[in-house]
Assembly symmetry: C2
Homo-oligomer: 260 residues x 2
């Protein structure tokens, strides 16, 4: 099942995709809700980030080649994480598919994409074992953890390097039926493939992250966990179109534009 959050004529609603149509749902995908039978052409609605999470988790470094390329970019030896320590991003930065990513005037040259699988939590969860971990998952979507590498290096935190407004595209929808081991992530910039990788080749699995996290923190419906990215990115500039496809989920598509 594919869940969207969308807007039409100023109304924001959740919906379920049926082919080229969206069936409107009353209430929240993450709480009591009802199918309405009212359908809209998918092309007639504006897709929003499919959820605004209470807590926005991000694994950060979770694929080996990305860790190595990032370290090399800073002239440092790679430090491979020894355990699944989760990080955070911020909801101010969320946008949906087909919305523009705005590059501030004073950003440096190294504005990069990071193509990520996003886990969406559906049930309140604490103290889950790895075997139980996926029982709290609602579905999966795609995230672009847009990053500015100079700010990432010189700032004390990741705040503007990762959380500048519009820098967290997420979507296009939440897919509930996914075979994790079959997923492949592909990125295209201006139509040309820049990287492909098996989505689930993570340093620490979704199960390991959820189990470790839920020892100390309660996960809530609508929370998202961005699972990290593989490889490197070319420098992106205003005008570039970045598409992230994960097979079985869909394609997240955003154009980069200059701050006006």
């Amino acid at each position: 099942m594919r869940w969207v959050r969308c807007e039409r004529n100023g109304n924001v609603f959740f919906g379920v995709v049926h082919g080229t149509e969206v069936e409107e749902v009353t209430g929240s995908a993450f709480a009591a809700h009802q199918m309405t039978g009212k359908r809209h052409p998918l092309a007639a609605v504006k897709l929003l980030a499919p959820v605004i999470p209470p807590t926005f988790y991000a694994a950060g470094l979770n694929y080996v080649e990305h860790i190595k390329s990032q370290a090399a970019g800073e002239g440092q030896a790679p430090k491979i994480p020894e355990k699944p320590d989760i990080g955070y991003r911020a909801v101010n930065a969320l946008i949906g598919t087909d919305e523009p990513v705005v590059i501030p005037r004073d950003a440096g040259q190294r504005v990069h994409y990071e193509a990520e699988l996003v886990v969406v939590i559906g049930k309140k969860a604490k103290h889950l074992s790895e075997a139980e971990a996926l029982s709290c998952v609602f579905g999966y979507t795609i995230g672009n953890d847009v990053s500015e590498r100079d700010w990432q290096k010189i700032d004390r935190t990741l705040w503007r390097a990762k959380n500048t407004d519009t820098w967290k595209p997420m979507g296009p929808w939440i897919e509930t039926d996914v075979n994790l081991d079959a997923l492949k992530t592909m990125v295209r910039v201006n139509g040309k493939t820049t990287i492909e990788f098996p989505t689930n080749h993570m340093l620490f699995s979704i199960q390991q992250y959820i189990s470790a996290m839920s020892r100390y923190v309660t996960l809530y419906p609508g929370d998202v966990i961005w699972m990290g990215t593989e490889g490197a990115s070319p420098n992106l500039k205003a005008g570039d179109l970045c598409e992230i496809e994960i097979t079985g989920i869909g394609t997240l598509r955003n154009r980069f534009v200059a701050e006006s």
Copy 2:
């Protein structure tokens, strides 16, 4: 004016404090709302964290003696921040005044309080100058940025060191009328004063933080900014009662208990 978020008989509502009573308000303190005239004894309601923020910002290192004592605790030279880089905390950890802070079984000895002034945002804001910065502020409350120093040292992020469930007490209410320069922060553990400091003696002011942040991120109604703490904390253990008073705002009071 003092705004509370509270619960009585299973109903959660915002309210305004009049002496020893709370007047119930319909809607949100941060959006359309209406006074109802319906009053409850303050002693009859359970005070909750006064807001669940869309984004939970935290300055982290923002007072010189705290930075020095933290560095000394780790046997390192202090690094004084050169600019206001904001960090993040997570809403799973929020509790109100008089709720227990639960220490997990495997926490180390160095569980510490951090007494913080909390800025609550009331208006959507972007690109504010320092002179304009306070125009987006709704009011002020108190936060206890409970921290476990071993996890803070060994983990790659601050996730469990700072965001373990119940480790972000906030309250008791939001005070809208505050003279920042007159505020004094006092901490008592089991009734004995452990530290006092002038609240506004920050490395970077509220105005500097808001202006710097709003260059890149939009602030939204209900967002909170925890402004950092001064000095050090004794090691806290199960049974300890920690009270943080900021003159002109109130007292945030939480007992530490062991995980059962």
